[in-house]
């Protein structure tokens, strides 16, 4: 089942691997396919807004692209909405101190904050307010607590409204046709290790399986075996190269060598990942070599992912594929 045909997609990965760009790109792709999409940043760092070159996001979703709404999770607002919708607390204005108290309890009590966040997302899915909800989720360290919150709450809370609601949330989260988890990694040791650990932990602790791996910033292979022998031997031709191209040629050769060496190390890590997770498809997003940030990066990542997901978006953007330069 194609990743974006699901209703709820969590995008996670070790800090610094480019989670937000990937989440934004996936949301953009789905929106371009004509689906209504909500993309939600969970850690309130503001990087999702930066990815869309948009002003800071809030709990109230805002249209950032055609068919694409973006929001930032805020557990206090989520609690407010929850109380209004389900507990029917009459005067919202009065729950200020109540919300603060709740926030305090939530800080210390396991799973409460997480369930307010995940509950909001599940609610949007259940109400079918959007065709797809893409979550720029917490890093690998926290995602288990987040996706697993309904399970934790169900184990800890014996009665009450919240417990009843964990049932439909779990049903939603544990249905692979509804919920997907995309784990983003770079071809580096720690991100790959955290990815393999997460793939193992997710089903055990949350009952939700990883759906797809996304390898970001993958360097292209520049040389085949015969060419590599030439690259390795170029020191013997140093004089010739300097005479023909000048002193700066050292930096030029170094650049290719650094890229190639890093690519080789990275390919090893990705091979290990595929070996540990043979059943998970891996999408490749190439290193972009761009000086751009924000919206432009999202555009390029979306193009790369469209190729990988076999998505054809007929909007006249076919010429912006990064394959030519990366």
């Amino acid at each position: 089942m194609p990743l974006l045909d699901r209703r709820l997609v969590f995008v996670t990965g070790k800090g610094g691997v480019g989670k937000t760009s990937v989440a934004a790109a996936l949301a953009l792709l789905a929106a371009r396919q004509g689906r209504s999409v909500l993309v939600c940043e969970m850690d309130a760092k503001g990087s999702l807004a930066a990815a869309f070159d948009a002003p800071p996001l809030s709990f109230q979703p805002r249209l950032v692209e055609p068919q694409l709404w973006a929001m930032a999770m805020n557990t206090e607002d989520s609690l407010r909405e929850y109380l209004r919708l389900f507990v029917r607390v009459p005067f919202i204005g009065r729950i200020g101190p109540l919300a603060r108290t709740f926030d305090f309890v939530a800080d210390a009590a396991p799973g409460v904050k997480e369930i307010l966040a995940v509950g909001k997302l599940c609610h949007e899915v259940r109400e079918r307010n959007y065709d797809l909800v893409v979550v720029d989720a917490e890093a690998t360290g926290h995602i288990v607590a987040q996706v697993g919150a309904p399970k934790v709450i169900r184990d800890l809370v014996n009665v009450g409204l919240v417990r009843e609601q964990t049932d439909w949330m779990l049903e939603l989260l544990q249905d692979p046709g509804t919920t997907g988890v995309a784990i983003v990694t770079t071809p580096e040791e720690m991100p790959v290790t955290e990815t393999t650990e997460l793939v193992a932990r997710l089903p055990v602790e949350t009952g939700v399986d990883a759906t797809v791996l996304i390898a970001n910033r993958v360097l292209p292979a520049l040389f085949d075996r015969r060419q590599t022998a030439v690259v390795d031997g170029l020191d013997r031709a140093h004089r010739l190269l300097v005479d023909a191209a000048g002193r700066g040629v050292d930096a030029v050769v170094d650049a290719a060598r650094i890229t190639e060496a890093r690519r080789r190390v990275g390919a090893g890590h990705l091979a290990r990942l595929q070996q540990v997770c043979p059943d998970l498809p891996m999408l490749i997003v190439p290193e972009l070599f761009t000086r751009a940030t924000g919206r432009r990066v999202v555009e390029l990542v979306a193009d790369a992912l469209a190729d990988e997901l076999d998505i054809v978006v007929d909007d006249g953007r076919a010429g912006t594929r990064p394959g030519g330069s990366a």
Partner: protein
């Protein structure tokens, strides 16, 4: 004293390591904090001497093995003389490593601050305890600071380098002691721990508990309240301790090293962090720009060479008339020197020349960001991107050499 310390930034990494007793390495996730903390400690142990400890949070397996930490829990272990000998280094001092174990750390705290064995046993046995401590907001951060305090107070080390935990917000680590103090000092906690029954009758709290009962169930709230009551028994000890830990961060013997790559998001985070450290009047010792591309990539001479090389390797098919001039000679000569096919050599050199622009663009962006970081801190050190992972002591010392270049 305090003013003097801020007025006199260290000129290089060596003098920073030599003049401080505690170094906190911070930065956003994925920038190589753990490696940098270990490299700084290894450098201090080999070049400056004394007993140096690196307190690490979550090292990569091979790095953990190299340091001899891993499954050893909370104890510090010394990196053996043989490990140094194997990479041909005779350290002037000792390198020790310890890993932060959150669970063991909390248990230890409870044991220390519990007024009696009954409270200790009740807390440790409380069903919410493990769940809360492992999820308690910033619990890692607080424990790292707590452990630093303990290690420093032990008087066993000349320098302690702390690899701060991965945080959603890098500043959490600075706020952790204050939060701990606030947590215990808050009226909410006191209010929450008033015996459950009597609370129901206070007008102020009534709406909260009515709603909370419906939402969470009263049993759950009771469990929480019970747990907090137990915790309150330890308040005095915890708060006093948190104050000491807080003071440690502002101590003249403490300095912060911000690690970043020169990519957009980490560099943005690093600038924010550096600004906040300055605002809080904490000592920012250095910014380390990790995995930087060599500055030669932005040199005009390099770009010129790339262009020449590109011209010299234009495909013979595309420009047959040009093949017999000087440029064609390069391919032939290199092929001869390397005993390789001219066609392959041409392809390789052409690709190398054509690709250079990609990296030069990235390097130019990096140079701008590095200059921006330079306005935040007088000492910015670049560690170049390596062509291999950092797996062992030899690799760490290689990184360290760049730190002091």
């Amino acid at each position: 004293m305090a003013a003097a310390r801020r007025a006199a930034p260290s000129a290089d990494i060596e003098s920073l390591l030599a003049s401080k007793e505690m170094l906190l390495v911070c930065g956003s996730g994925g920038v190589g904090k753990t490696t940098m903390a270990a490299a700084l400690a290894a450098y201090a142990a080999t070049e400056i001497g004394g007993r140096v400890l690196v307190l690490t949070v979550d090292p990569a397996r091979r790095l953990a093995d190299a340091l001899g930490v891993g499954r050893l829990g909370n104890d510090a272990t010394r990196v053996s003389a043989e490990a140094f000998a194997a990479v041909g280094v005779e350290p002037r001092g000792e390198l020790w490593a310890a890993m932060l174990d959150t669970k063991a750390g909390w248990d230890e705290l409870i044991r220390r601050h519990a007024p009696d064995s009954r409270v200790e046993a009740s807390v440790l046995a409380n069903p919410l305890y493990q769940n809360i401590t492992s999820r308690f907001v910033h619990s890692h951060d607080y424990l790292a600071m707590e452990r630093l305090h303990e290690l420093h107070a032990s008087g066993q080390y000349d320098l302690i380098v702390v690899d701060t935990p991965p945080s959603r917000n890098a500043l959490d680590v600075l706020d952790a002691p204050v939060r701990m103090k606030e947590f215990f000092g808050s009226r909410l906690l006191k209010w929450l721990t008033v015996p459950y029954r009597s609370r129901l009758f206070t007008a102020a709290s009534k709406p909260f508990y009515q709603v909370a009962d419906r939402v969470l169930g009263s049993r759950f709230l009771q469990d929480i309240a019970e747990f907090f009551i137990l915790f309150q028994a330890m308040e005095a000890g915890f708060v006093e301790h948190a104050r000491e830990v807080e003071q440690l961060l502002a101590d003249p013997r403490t300095s912060f090293v911000v690690v970043s790559t020169l990519e957009a998001a980490p560099a943005h985070e690093a600038r924010f962090l550096a600004r906040e450290l300055t605002r809080r009047e904490l000592h920012l010792g250095a910014i380390v720009a990790n995995r930087a591309l060599p500055s030669s990539f932005t040199a005009k001479a390099s770009a010129a060479s790339a262009r020449k090389l590109l011209r010299a390797t234009e495909s013979a098919d595309a420009d047959p008339d040009d093949d017999d001039d000087d440029d064609g000679d390069l391919v032939t000569a290199v092929a001869h020197a390397l005993d390789a096919e001219p066609r392959v050599v041409r392809g390789v050199l052409h690709e190398i020349a054509a690709r250079f622009h990609d990296l030069a663009v990235v390097a130019a962006r990096e140079a701008e960001r590095r200059a921006e970081l330079g306005t935040m801190c007088p000492l910015v050190v670049a560690v170049p991107v390596l062509d291999h992972d950092v797996n062992d002591l030899g690799d760490l010392l290689e990184v360290a050499r760049h730190l002091d270049a």
